[in-house]
Each structure stands twice: as structure tokens, then as C-alpha cells.
Amino acid sequence: MLNKKLAYEYDDSRLVDIDTARKVVDLIYSLSQPMGGTSISIRSWHATGQRWSRNRASMSSDQRDIRLSISRFIDGGSGSVTTNQVDRASLESAVRYAEERAIYMSVAARFSDMPLGSPDLEVRGKNVWSDKTYNRTNKVNGELVSYIARKSEAASMLSAGYIETGSANSYSIYNQDGKISPESTAMVTRAMCSMTIREPRGNGSGWAGNASFDLGELPLHEIADKALDKCIRSINPVRIEPGRYTTILEPQASATFFNMLTLGFARRVNTERGPESPFYLDYDGQLDIHRSKLGLRIVDPRITIKHSPEDPLVGTHPTAGMRDILYVNQGILNEMAYQEGYAREELVSRYPQPVRSSYSVMGGTVTMNEMIESTERGLIVTRFSDPSLVQGSSMLYTGLTRDGLWLVENGKITNAVRNFRWTESPLFILNNLESLGLAVPIFEPSEIRYALGSSSTYHLSLNNVVVPTIKVKDFSFTSTIDAI
């Protein structure tokens, strides 16, 4: 039996607190040679995960790590290291390494700029911290898994899924005095749940999931019920011909296409270089410049895509320099992201405008039922799998439907349908929009990233996306696939 008391004694704080961060920063500065500049980033994360399959938990985990990055900038050269150790010996060798690299790069005339800090900018953002998420234990998650397992077993189905609650924080120091200012500190929590329920012989599959910083916002039992319902309704799908169909994309599916579009907003400079960019317009010979489509309509006027730091649904932790970004305003390309070099050279500004992976799309009022009832013949898509770019200039992608595809005939769902490969562009479907539903948050997974197979960082920047169900005309399904 477990000794609970002993376990409790060991239960330290899961994240690096500000006092510890200050000690680390002070030590790094004391170890640095008195020249050049230093930037430091300290991130820590903790995640509790419950994975299950075949109606039983297959792994319950508790993971935590830290990621400390030190960059030294000396005479135009720079050197960087990342580690998860913060003792004196480790930090000293890290600082020495960064300095030696910076000096070498300087002597070798291979220059790089120190990123500019933004201490003088307004701090914007919303608290994305939830004590309920932070305090969630796998004991409670285990009960949820039991509920799902009982429901799935009662229906003679097999469930698999993952529920994770996590927290992360960061301290970023770009200034010369090494002070940790409130605007360079971020704390976030993250809860997500995703599950697939399958017919045991593989004749049907249903998926549901969602994510939020606040566990209280996740209707976990509803997600389970929805996945089971989709599984049961997807059994024994019929094969229909590929072709162009009026298609209702549930939010998880529509987000795939909105993500493609917002990814295209990532580098404004690319749109002004040549026709490879989907947002390139033409070359003006008189002014000798390439024009982008900024200011022109690119999609249906009902589409507005924005990032707002204070929007609780796409929550951005309080950060200096954050501002409202209106990417697409009533179909018109209004704004794109740019990097520091572009800001300095083209916009006479110090500050870059990074792309925000959290965004919201203004929704409509049409319900799912109304969309179905108004469809003579069409398809309903739960989600897409593995989208990959085929042609950049037209934003043409290909991918697969997955875990729930239904045929609608004369205003009613008539059959589950075999999955398709599709070939389609967000620019096409968002110019062939029939109707928009209510915008809702969707599932975006977190990921423990290992840039070089060594250090790890939990997703600190939340990829929260709020999108509507959309109904589009002539979605291109190019071939059937056998996978269910």
C-alpha cells in the first residue's frame, strides 16, 4: 500500500518560482564576463497525463522539466545554450560556452543581432491560469476513464484516448540589469481531452475532444458521450463516389483550413517577394516593388479572423507588446506577421509582429441542424487527418477524413460514409461559403517538444482556436480510402 503521508512530503512545487528564477538570473550575471549583452529564458512545466486504450488505462504519468536558455551577445557575435540544470557548475559552463561561441562568431565576422526587449510596451493579456486545472490529479482522471470504459463496454465498443492537465511558466530577461519584470513572466495552465471510440472489428470510429486553460470549461462526460455516439453512428459506412460535395465541416474540421490560412499570414515579407506566396499580387514596374494582397478581399466577406489578447477563449497570458490583430476583416486581408528585420527596414519600427497561433473566427448563427436540413446532398466531416501542402501559391492541400463522415440527403443524415482523400484550398472553400455556425473552442494538442532530442518545453503559448462549423459548396474529395 502507498504511504500517502510520505508522498505528500515529497510533493514540492512543480514550477520554478520567481525567487528561484531571480537566483538563477543573478548567478548567470555574476558568472558572465562584463561585456556584451545577455538574454535568459527560464521555462518550467508539469503535466499529468492519463492514456487509455481497449477500455483500460494504459499509462498514468506525471512529468516535469525545466528549460533554461542563455544567449550571450558580444561584439556582434552570439552564442546560445539550453539546459535543464541550474546548479552553479552547470551554469558556469553554460555561460562560458555561450561566451566562447559569441567571441568566435564575432571574430569570424558571422554576426547576429540581440533580440530587442520590449519593456516599454503596454502589457496586454488575460489570466490563463486555472487552479482547478493545476490541482487536477490523475485519481480524478482515472474515474473519468472508468466512466468511458463502462459506457464503451456496455455498447460493446473499444475506447482509446488521452487526458492531460498541465501547467507551465516562463521568465524572460533581455535587459542589461537582469531584472525580472512582471511583463516578462508568464504562467499558464492547460487541460485537454481527446478520445476515439471504435467498433472492435474496425467497422466504425468516432472521435471527440476539446482543450482549454480551464478544466472547468471542458465537458469531459459530454466529450465521451459524443465520441461514443459518433462511433455507433459511423458503423458499416457505405462507399460513395468521390467528387465535389456540399460539405458541413464541424469546428474541428474547419479549424484545419483556418489554420492553413493563418499559417500563410506568418511572414509578410514572403508576400512581397514573388508569386510563390498565395498573398502575392503583382509587380509594379514603375515603383519597382512587388505588391501583396493586403487591403484586398481574399475570402468571403462573412469571414473575420482576429487575435485579441483579452479574449478569454483564445487566452494569451499577460505579455508586453501584445495587441489586437485583425488578420482578416470581413474577407479583406488586413494584417500579416513580420519579423524584426522587416519591421526595422520596411516599417521603421523596433518591434516585430509575431504570428499568433491563438485566434478566433467570427461565427454566424446557423445551427448544425439548419445546415443539415438545408442540404439536398452533402457530407458532414468530423475531422481531418494529416493535411499536407501540395502547392504553396494556391494554398492547395491534401489530406484525409477521419473518425466520422456522414452523407446528408434531402435534409437528413442517411448513411455513414467511407473516408476520402481530399485535395482542397482554404482560399477556395472560404470563397464558397454557404453558412456559418456558432464559433466554439476546439481541440489543439500540446506537445513536449525536443528541438534537438534533448531539452523539453511544454507548450507555453497556448494554441487556442475558436472557429465555427461551416458549410461550403463543392468541396473536392478526390479518392476513397479503405481506412476506418
Binding site: L2, Y10, D12, D17, T20, K23, Q50, R51, S53, R54, R56, A57, S60, S61, D62, Q63, R64, D65, S80, V81, T82, T83, Q85, V86, D87, A89, S90, E92, S93, A102, R110, S112, T137, N138, K139, G142, S146, A160, R198, S205, S385, D386, Q391, T398, L400, T423, E424, P445, I448, Y450, A451, L452, G453, S454, S455, S456, S476, T478, S479, A483
Partner: protein
């Protein structure tokens, strides 16, 4: 081996001083040094776990280093120490991990892992029958490298890359740049079987971005040596001791020839298809490697990467016809220089050589100690000893171990000297994929390939084909295999794959000859319905 940061400072020499250490407690950090043996730390975790009710426990310590070096940008360097403890209690697994290497942390992780396992007590019966290990072997092994990339001055590597860039600029119409990526992992393992292992592994690879541009005819062509620098279990000798400049020259000549070929639209329909070795490696990894992972097959990955066409493994082993008699695939992890080589996997299992597919018939699968028992009746039926495949791993001890693919070999044709050129010359009419990016569905049943393609007429490349894709069903593909390159044409590639929730990255080696297929479906990838 003592873990002393002071001693480890010597690891990387003067210029590349490392930064080993342990942050002991994130609120009470700054311990001066660590005096504890990894073995003792892990032993403590296992003792605490088994002493408190775990029927099985294992502990892993990993020390990972990573470095990316470019010609002009400053190199980025990473290091991480990770500690993971896994326990089995009443059929349920618990896992806890952190970056702290101490016996005190070992106790905390063991207890946390036990609590994780106990969180599923209300979940109903779950039976785990771990495959036994006969005399689990303890030992230590360092992957042999000639030039440890973390011991030589980084300047030497960046200057080497600077030289490559200059060399590229000296070639007609060409610009090119290479990047080197180095990783190493010291991996310690101890389990309640009493086994202790330590291994030091390397993964060295690179990237190359090159092209030739003819400004007169306004055309450019890629210069690609990506196939020559996929991840390998070697040190800097992977670059320094190989004729990289010659590879670039050959690729440059290929690109110049490409500029002379017309670019034609593809004729959709059924064509005989020639796929180069590199393209074949991706196909084998996706259609036969991932599909034969038993956890995937049983639905453990259903919510992430998906399942497998081998959906009834017990019935399908020994009977499922995946391809024709030419198809023979084996797995192994013992080849020197392979990025997948280990002496023990992350469960302490010594990998075994297996025949995955023989004469087109499924013969074996990648397993763990837990899941091996699912297919025990197959082993019994065939008089085979129940043995896990030795395919379990994780990208660091922070992560949960999962089953992944061993190193795979698609066995070549009988005529050992048969080359890609010979196979091409045998084609009267067809399409050649010089490169092939493979995208499979979530059951590995149907797939899609796109890449750099040529029209082949009377044994010669006569045009570049634009926007060409190949769609296939896995079993159709392997049943339409009509010829394989010979032993001399086999090349080895380090393949990177992803799996799990949260997602992890794995690397394994795939050895493949170029291969010829009959009558597969070619599409125009830009054509919509």
C-alpha cells in the same frame, strides 16, 4: 561511474565546455555537485517501488546532448538530464519523471509513479503478463565513434561547413548550404529483474539546401544530397570521412541534366513505377515498420497515429499475404553505424533479429514485454520461444517508453550487381520517383507518394513530370513488386518517425534497394475532383 559535473567539464574539451549538473530541487536549487552513482539512484527508485507493492519497476536516467552547427549562424547547443520511473501495480502502469538525478528524487518519483498506477484502481481488471527474460544481461556499451562531435572544437565543424558553402558557390549556377545535427544520449537502465545497463548512443545527420538556377531560361533545379546525410549512429566522421563534396558534385550534375529536360504534365493512369532506394526506405518504414508495431495493431495508438491493417494480429500472423514472393523484410538492431543500434532496449531486452515478412507473408511483429503475450498462441503454434522484439524506446527518460520500429531491411534481388540504372534500362515506358515523400492513412492501408519524378522511355529519363503523385493500397503495392535492385544497390537511411501522446520522435535505419513495380495509379496531385 560517478556523476560529477566537475569531472564532466572535461567532456567537451576547452572550447566546448559542457554544462552538466543537476537541479536538485527547483525551490532549493544550487547543489554544488552530485556524488551519487546512477546505478544507486535507479536502484533506490526500484526498491521503493517494489517495496510498496509494484510487481515490476524500472528506472531510466538519460543525459542528452544536442547541437546544430551551421556555416554562418552561431551553433545552438542543448543538454538535459532526465530521470523516469515506471511501475506496474495490479495490471496498471504508472510513470513519473523529472530532471533531478538523486536518490531522494528517486523516492519521490517511485512514490509518484505508484500513485499514478493506483489512480486506475477503479478501472476494472487489467491483466499484464510480462514476457520473461532469461538471465537478463547487465552491461555497458558505448557506440563506437571516431570523432565525438562534442569533443572536437565546434569551430572545426562550422569551418568545415563554411568550406562546403564555398565549394557549392564554385559550381556552375549553384548555391548550397549544409547543416550538421549531432545528438548523443547516455542511457542508464535498471529494473526489478536486477538488470543494469548503460549505453552511450549517437545520432548524427544533416540537412542540405542547394539549387542551380539558369537565369537565361529562368529555370532552377534542386541539388539534393539529403539521402547521403540521414541520421546515422556515427560521430563527425560521418561528414569528415565521407566524400560529401563528391556527392554534391554528382547531385549538381544531376541538377544540370534536369535543366536540360522538358517539364511535362503527368499523364494520369496506370504506369510501371521505379522508385529509388531513398523513396523505398520511407515506404518500408511506413507500410511495414509502423504497421507491424503490435501496440498500434491492438488499438493502443487509435486516438493518435491510428491503427494498422494488421487488425487481428493473432489470426494474421503467418497467414496475411502483404505482398508477393519477392517481398522479404527483416528487422535487426545490431548493425554498426545504424542510428537504431542498441544492445538493450528501454525494457532491458536485447533486440533480436526477426523476419517480419517472408515471401510476402507476415511472420512477426514489433512487441514489448507486456504486449508480447497477446501473440503467445502464435509462438506456441509454431514452436517458437516467446520473446519480445527489443523495440521499446523513448526519446529521453522524461518520456514514457513505447514500441517503435527496429532497423529494417528490404532484402535485395538475387542479381547482386543490378543497379538503379539497370532497372531503369529494363523499363520500356514508365515513371521514376527519384525522391518519394510518403503519406499513409491512419491504418496504413492506403498511401500517397509525391516527389521528384521523371518520365522513362526506352530506359532513359526523357522529361521531368510536374505535380506527379502515386496512390496505392499497401497490399496492391507489394503484390505489384516486379524487381528489386541487387545487394550492391542497397543503401541505408536513418528515418525519423513520430508516435504517442504526447508525441515523441524516434529514429531507425531502413536499408532498401531501388525497386520496380507494375501498373500503379499515377495522379496529378493538383487536380481536384
Amino acid at each position: 561511474m560517478k556523476i560529477s559535473r566537475r569531472e564532466m567539464l572535461q567532456y567537451s574539451g576547452v572550447l566546448a565546455a559542457p554544462y552538466f549538473g543537476t537541479f536538485q530541487n527547483i525551490n532549493g536549487f544550487l547543489l554544488e555537485d552530485v556524488k551519487e552513482e546512477p546505478k544507486d539512484i535507479m536502484k533506490r527508485a526500484v526498491e521503493v517501488a517494489t517495496g510498496r507493492g509494484a510487481s515490476y519497476a524500472d528506472a531510466r536516467l538519460t543525459l542528452n546532448h544536442g547541437m546544430v552547427v551551421r556555416a554562418s549562424n552561431p551553433p545552438s547547443r542543448e543538454a538535459a538530464m532526465c530521470f523516469g520511473v515506471r511501475v506496474l501495480v495490479d495490471g496498471y502502469w504508472g510513470f513519473a519523471s523529472s530532471p533531478v538525478w538523486t536518490a531522494v528524487e528517486a523516492e519521490r518519483l517511485a512514490i509518484s509513479a505508484l500513485e499514478q498506477a493506483a489512480s486506475n484502481a477503479g478501472g476494472g481488471e487489467r491483466i499484464v503478463d510480462m514476457a520473461p527474460l532469461d538471465n537478463p544481461e547487465s552491461g555497458e556499451w558505448d557506440m563506437p565513434v571516431v570523432y565525438d562531435p562534442f569533443l572536437i572544437p565546434t569551430e572545426e565543424i562550422s569551418d568545415y561547413l563554411y568550406g562546403i558553402r564555398e565549394f557549392c558557390s564554385s559550381l556552375k549556377w549553384m548555391k548550397g548550404e549544409m547543416v550538421c545535427t549531432f545528438m548523443t544520449m547516455d542511457k542508464h537502465f535498471h529494473s526489478s529483474t536486477g538488470q543494469y545497463t548503460r549505453q552511450k548512443l549517437y545520432a548524427t545527420g544533416g540537412g542540405f539546401n542547394g539549387s542551380v538556377a539558369n537565369t537565361v531560361i529562368k529555370r532552377h533545379a534542386a541539388v539534393n544530397i539529403g539521402d547521403k546525410i540521414t541520421p546515422a549512429g556515427l560521430g563527425f566522421e560521418y561528414f569528415r570521412n565521407r566524400p560529401i563534396r563528391q556527392y554534391i558534385e554528382e547531385a549538381h550534375e544531376d541538377a544540370l541534366r534536369d535543366l536540360e529536360l522538358p517539364i511535362n504534365p503527368v499523364d494520369i493512369g496506370r504506369w510501371n513505377i521505379l522508385i529509388g532506394s531513398w523513396g523505398m526506405s520511407g515506404l518500408v518504414s511506413e507500410t511495414l515498420g509502423e504497421a507491424t508495431q503490435l501496440d498500434r495493431s491492438l488499438g493502443f495508438e487509435a486516438n493518435s497515429g491510428g491503427t494498422s491493417y494488421i487488425n487481428e494480429p493473432l489470426d494474421m500472423l503467418g497467414t496475411l499475404k502483404i505482398g508477393n514472393e519477392l517481398l522479404k523484410v527483416s528487422s535487426d538492431r545490431s548493425e554498426a553505424g545504424s542510428v537504431g543500434k542498441v544492445l538493450w532496449d528501454d525494457e532491458g531486452v536485447a533486440p533480436r533479429k526477426m523476419s517480419l515478412v517472408e515471401k510476402g507473408i507476415l511472420k512477426n511483429m514489433h512487441t514489448s514485454r507486456e504486449l508480447c503475450s497477446y501473440i503467445q498462441p502464435y509462438y506456441s503454434r509454431n514452436g517458437l520461444k516467446l520473446e519480445p522484439s527489443g523495440s521499446v524506446g523513448a526519446q529521453s527518460a522524461i518520456n514514457v517508453p513505447l514500441i517503435y520500429s527496429s532497423d529494417l531491411t528490404l532484402h535485395p534481388g538475387e542479381e547482386s550487381s543490378k543497379s538503379l540504372n539497370d532497372l531503369r534500362q529494363d523499363m520500356k515506358s514508365g515513371i521514376e520517383f527519384k525522391t518519394a515523400g510518403v503519406q499513409m492513412d491512419f491504418q496504413k492501408i492506403t498511401g500517397y507518394i509525391r516527389g521528384h519524378t521523371y518520365k522513362i522511355e526506352n530506359g532513359k529519363r526523357t522529361a521531368i513530370l510536374a505535380d506527379t503523385g502515386l496512390i496505392f493500397r499497401t497490399q496492391e503495392l507489394w503484390n505489384n513488386l516486379i524487381a528489386l535492385g541487387g545487394n550492391d544497390s542497397v543503401s541505408k537511411y536513418g528515418i525519423t518517425t513520430r508516435k504517442g501522446e504526447p508525441s515523441q520522435t524516434f529514429r531507425h535505419q531502413v536499408s532498401t534497394p531501388p525497386s520496380l513495380f507494375k501498373e500503379l495509379s499515377i495522379i496529378d496531385i493538383t487536380r481536384k475532383a
